[in-house]
Point group: C2
Chain length 513, copies 2
């Protein structure tokens, strides 16, 4: 993998001086065109060997381009804020919007490699992390991100020479730490891990571009010209032949039966019985959320359902049981301009709660496979890949002790009609019913199909869907409360049993010995 | 994942009788259109729970359609022939060509699930197998295969009922074996493995289509209609919006240095010295191939190089040292019609040698990233993904104790000119030099770039490239022989150390205790 980059590439000073101003100008132009075009994000990853000029390259890119439209992020040890979220959260957080260029230094590649070299992870874990990276990068590319991955390489003798040179020069000697020499001694250990890593994470859409780091002028021109060519190709909208439709249709409806129609939507429950049970359940939920083990997990509640199915009422019965500092309700409507400039899941990642906290999503990431699918706001290929992206997302949450509880509140078409009409009659409820609600209702069957596909494809061991019979709003609210309390109770119980994957160190950090 | 399929779907006999003839006719039409169109393969995978009617469905598909254009393959225990090749070899072997429909029953999904349920593989291995499956299926889809994966499901009570029913009826009681009941007792164990398996191997391009298996008429119509819709969609060439170019450019040439130009092509070696060393090396190679450990491995030699670089001569010096029964030389030219109707790697998979044997490829799968890239025979996206597909392919070979040794024979442009001219002068060598050779020569620089990219992207720990300085053909031949002998010797030495992954049972099978 590193054959070319191990050669002694060199650019003479004079040649560099001729080339650099032209390259800079062209890069600036590309940067402005990107800003104007606003159609994609350029994301540059800088990785590779110590002493190969990664830091200098990042500085140079900043110097070459307009710093207002370039965002540089160096990732080292995660902050407390970041540790309380799944590993990829901090990369989502730093992702620049469309029209901008991001430079990630030490991104999601660093930790898996270091852990493997240090023997902190097994071959199997390493392979799993590689799969996660492949899925993340594929998702970014599918979302239109121009992902350029530069791997800065030095051969063993090149690295030795470079460290000596830096050390000798009083101006740069601070750059070489004792740690660098320790790392150098383990050059072969790193090489043994990096080779398969670079091989396995090189795909057609996001190949590693291995750059020889020995000569500063050579590596600068290499990165600069590659960046320019890649941006120009995309900006100038190079025509590619049409690809065949690769998404096969999902199962057709063969009979009248589906998971929604199988529900007994009308349930008996009197207001009196409701009031009594409501208090009991709210008390139970309140106690659960005050459990000290709650500090080691977080909860995400997802509320989806027909229009006027009573999502808001159910949510208020939950929040009514909780300390206002413990939860946050996120109402998901059409994406804002800021959100549209990001990959689809970005606007949900940003609301993933810290430890001990509860995020309630009133509508959620499932909009992709519901309203966006039915209304044609995205293409078939996009909502089809959303199922596995969502499953991935929820698995990452689950792995990080984030409990995900999902509800679909289902009413009959007749009950919905009754509620719409009732809302129209009451002045202070009229804002709740719009022309859009009536329009959606016309697509009842299409929504029904989309909901059934959603349940089939995303109700998983890591995050089950609970279908709630909601013609009787009292029954629905109690089912939601009970399901939530049961799920939290079960999750708290799991915390007592330390998982195999959790290391001793982690447990100590979490405050338990 | 199995919510809809667990419902009691049922189709009445009368409705089925009305529907079936129409569906059959439409499927037959689609089958003939596919044959005429000849643009893709339809591959149907049938998997899922025992007793859910998988076998009946396969029979029915055969009955419904024209059996001349449908190929059914049931996979159970691998044959001796198959055991001597990497796991996926038998699926490649069975892959139907474009224009045909293939039905795979118990394909690459079965073993990973069974092994995991039985505790024969770890969570990590299971995840690795899932990654392999994802890569294989993505490659098939990228190659234009319409892949339809049906998962036949029964809930626990449904499966119990079904087994009882089959058992009671004297006509079908033979279908239920003791083993079926043993499997049934482990229903929950299977479910625990199948759920994440189905979830993780469901992608936008190849989602699992989960079919309720309880009612024969329902499952037949479901599969039939889905198959019809998927084929029609592709046959009728549904227009999809143009996707952006997702393959960034590889590194540009910044200076004159590359892995080929770094070679010292002229090497000193007299004919006398050559003759003496040749015999020694051939003797050594002969002894190595007669080593009893050779029965546990196989060897693949890959010869690529400039036109007239002496590949044939080098190959003959190797085969001259071997028993004619031990090796096979495969000359790779433009693909035949049969080969063009298959995914790119198919024509190489078919030549993967059995244990103890040596396959020599005179040109190889690298044509994709050399001639096909330079001449524009395939699109950029295709040759870009070929790098990782080839690395995958070679890793699968390496994991199965197939040693892969790859040579690039390099001459200078001047030396090539000399040889072309010399060949034209000698009557019996004239066939060796064609107008195409002269045409290729004009694209020398483009080929040089392609070769350097190839070496950088596919010289890996599992299969290294050896660059051979070939202006002096004597020197080149000896370097090839020596490299080959060294590689075989090292591989034989590795056989003495049993790998962790090899089980005791395997070792006994291989004749060692």
């Amino acid at each position: 993998m590193f054959e070319s980059a191990s050669l002694s590439h060199r650019i003479e000073k004079a040649a560099y001086k001729r080339e650099e101003p032209k390259l800079r100008q062209a890069l600036l132009n590309a940067q402005y065109d990107l800003k104007q075009n606003g159609k994609f994000t350029t994301l540059i990853l800088i990785a590779g060997v110590e002493g190969a000029g990664k830091g200098e390259m990042v500085n140079l890119l900043n110097e070459w381009m307009d710093p207002r439209h370039i965002e540089v992020h160096g990732f080292s040890e995660p902050s407390d804020e970041e540790k309380e979220r799944p590993r990829v959260w901090r990369y989502w957080r730093a992702l620049p919007p469309k029209g901008k260029i991001g430079v990630f230094f030490g991104a999601w590649h660093t930790q898996p490699i270091v852990n493997r070299v240090m023997g902190l992870s097994s071959e199997g874990q390493f392979d799993q992390e590689i799969s996660e990276i492949l899925r993340l990068e594929r998702m970014l590319v599918d979302e239109g991100v121009l992902l350029l991955k530069f791997w800065f390489h030095l051969s063993r003798p090149q690295q030795k020479k470079r460290l000596h040179e830096l050390e000798k020069d009083p101006v740069t000697s601070w750059r070489v730490t004792k740690n660098d020499w320790i790392l150098f001694k383990n050059y072969d250990g790193f090489a043994k891990v990096c080779e398969p890593f670079v091989r396995k994470t090189s795909t057609a859409e996001a190949p590693w571009l291995v750059v020889s780091g020995a000569d500063a002028r050579y590596r600068s021109l290499t990165v600069g010209r590659t960046l320019l060519a890649a941006m120009r190709e995309r900006l100038d909208d190079k025509v590619v032949p049409q690809l065949p439709d690769r998404t096969p249709p999902l199962l057709p409806a063969i009979d009248k039966l589906n998971v929604l129609r199988a529900l007994q939507l009308d349930q008996d429950l009197s207001k009196n019985a409701y009031t009594k049970q409501l208090e009991e359940l709210q008390g139970r939920l309140n106690r659960l959320f005050r459990d000290p083990r709650m500090k080691q997990m977080s909860v995400v509640g997802v509320f989806e359902g027909n229009d006027a199915a009573g999502k808001g009422g159910a949510i208020r019965r939950i929040t009514g049981a909780l300390d206002a500092r413990a939860y946050q309700t996120i109402s998901v409507a059409a994406p804002t301009e800021e959100e549209r400039a990001q990959p689809y899941l970005w606007r949900f990642w940003r609301h993933i709660p810290r430890r001990g906290r509860f995020a309630i999503f009133d509508r959620s990431w499932y909009g992709r496979v519901l309203v966006e699918r039915v209304e044609g706001f995205c293409q078939e290929a996009d909502w089809m890949r959303a199922y596995s992206e969502i499953n991935d997302f929820e698995q990452q949450l689950a792995q990080h002790n984030v409990l995900v509880v999902k509800f679909w509140l289902a009413t009959s078409k007749e009950e919905q009609y009754r509620r719409f009409k009732a809302r129209e009659k009451v002045a202070f409820k009229r804002f709740k019913i719009t022309a859009e609600d009536w329009r959606n209702r016309k697509k009842w069957d299409q929504y029904e199909t989309a909901v059934c596909d959603m349940v089939d494809r995303t109700s998983t061991n890591v995050a089950l869907w609970t279908l709630v019979e909601a013609n009787n709003k009292y029954y629905a609210r109690l089912k939601v409360l009970r399901t939530m309390a049961d799920a939290v109770e079960a999750a708290l119980a799991r915390i007592d049993k330390p998982k195999k994957s959790r290391t001793k160190k982690d447990r100590v950090k979490n405050g338990r010995k």
